[in-house]
């Protein structure tokens, strides 16, 4: 899967594209955990993600745990309609910080 990345100051923004499922979640997890160095702030921009499975959400959970353990921060933003529904179904909004837009997330992370 393609995972774009850019920086906004100290914040790393990852932008995966397509489906985060059984086929693609390992790559997503590897990239996410590598990005979450101690003290790092990482924002995952979901605007190009069409679907996320339980495996993809597990990757996010691991990222969240790593961020907490290493005094980093992890947030997600710009969920599409289907992904937003899946976050509600899975109750993942209680696991990671979810923002409506990347601008809102960046403002909160700064």
């Amino acid at each position: 899967m393609e995972i774009g990345e850019r920086r906004d100051g100290d914040i790393l923004i990852l932008s995966p594209a397509g489906r985060i499922d059984n086929d693609t979640s390992p790559a997503f997890q590897t990239r996410l955990l590598a990005a979450l160095a101690p003290g790092a702030a990482v924002l995952v921009d979901f605007s190009s993600v069409q679907y996320i499975s339980s495996a993809g959400l597990r990757a996010l959970m691991m990222g969240s745990k790593q961020a907490k353990a290493s005094k980093g921060r992890l947030a997600v933003a710009a969920l599409g309609l289907v992904v937003k529904e899946i976050f509600e179904i899975s109750r993942f909004s209680m696991v990671v910080e979810v923002f409506g837009t990347t601008a809102d997330a960046l403002a909160a992370l700064r």
Partner: protein
């Protein structure tokens, strides 16, 4: 094959309190405004068609117990949580205490909520009845004896009138019991639990409760995919949300509705029944989770169509 649910609740029996009943009555009366309900038939029709299940009924409060009617001469049950008390009472109400019967009980594991109904299972007190408890735990007999020993219970297990036998099964091996082909699989649960697949005349039902699925990535090689493969009915422990399952309740031995759907669809299961309901959830929450789970089965892109139901005490499904 007819599957009848006598206990659907996880962890501990959860009776409806007066406030819950009162709220249901209030909601029903509010919903009835403006309806012409001047005959019993009109009222029944209104209840069936206009009220949500969470208002007209309840998912129930008894802990695990499921009956399988497959045309054999003997009774077949999965687990003997508090639901088995009502099963036994219904049997005696129907046939009277004089009828001697044989029972095959398949025990997922020996945690309390799965055995607590046995001391209240009236047929176990009646001489002439034969009860065979099948399972993969070597300690089954000891656990049943301990459950009915002083100071926990007034009637000692060894004083029960029925003939009670414990039959240890080997996971992965096929057995023929009362015309059913049965196979067990070991599940991830504290002190282990076992799921059972029952097959007869080309129809299969899987009873898989108290099972935590901890795969990083779900593939065809995951052993449960083969165990569930093409099942007509899968009774599945979906006690938690995914977030709970993999965070604060990790290693508590239960699974989630999302994992249930993904596993069922990959295994080409036809009908998923969510089971072992979270005792913290009221009827409205269980109904909400059911709606969300059906929605997840639609939007995840799987080509395998899946019927999703939430178990309730009294539910009957024919496969």
């Amino acid at each position: 094959m007819l599957i009848r649910f006598w206990g659907s609740r996880g962890s501990i029996p959860t009776p409806l309190g007066y406030r819950s009943v009162r709220n249901k009555v209030r909601d029903a009366i509010v919903a009835a405004r403006g309806h012409q309900l001047d005959t019993p038939e009109a009222v029944d029709n209104f209840i069936a068609k206009e009220l949500p299940f969470s208002t007209s009924s309840t998912y129930g409060g008894n802990s695990s117990c499921v009956e399988i009617e497959a045309g054999g001469d003997e009774y077949v049950l999965c687990d003997v949580g508090s639901g088995v008390r009502e099963f036994g009472n219904a049997l005696i109400a129907k046939h009277g205490p004089a009828k001697k019967s044989r029972f095959n009980i398949f025990l997922s594991h020996t945690h309390w909520d799965h055995i607590m109904g046995f001391p209240f299972f009236t047929p176990s007190y009646i001489p002439g009845n034969v009860i065979r408890i099948h399972g993969c735990h070597s300690a089954m007999r000891d656990v049943f004896i301990r459950q009915q020993s002083n100071p926990c219970f007034p009637i000692d297990f060894r004083a029960l009138g029925a003939t009670i036998e414990f039959v240890e099964l080997e996971p992965g091996r096929s057995y023929e019991i009362d015309g059913l082909s049965v196979k067990a699989i070991r599940q991830n649960h504290p002190s282990d639990s076992y799921g059972f697949r029952f097959t007869k005349n080309g129809k299969s039902m899987v009873y898989s409760t108290d099972s935590e699925h901890k795969f990083d990535v779900l593939t065809e090689n995951y052993p449960f995919v083969e165990f569930f493969r093409d099942a007509d009915l899968l009774i599945f422990d979906a006690q938690y949300s995914l977030a709970d399952q993999i965070s604060i309740k990790e290693d508590w031995g239960h699974s989630s509705n999302m994992v249930a759907v993904e596993l069922a669809q990959l295994s080409r299961v036809k009908h998923l029944v969510m089971y072992h309901h979270e005792p913290m959830f009221d009827d409205k929450m269980i109904e909400k989770v059911l709606g969300e789970t059906r929605r997840y089965a639609e939007i995840n892109g799987s080509p395998n169509k899946l019927t999703v139901t939430s178990a309730y005490d009294g539910l009957e499904i024919v496969i």
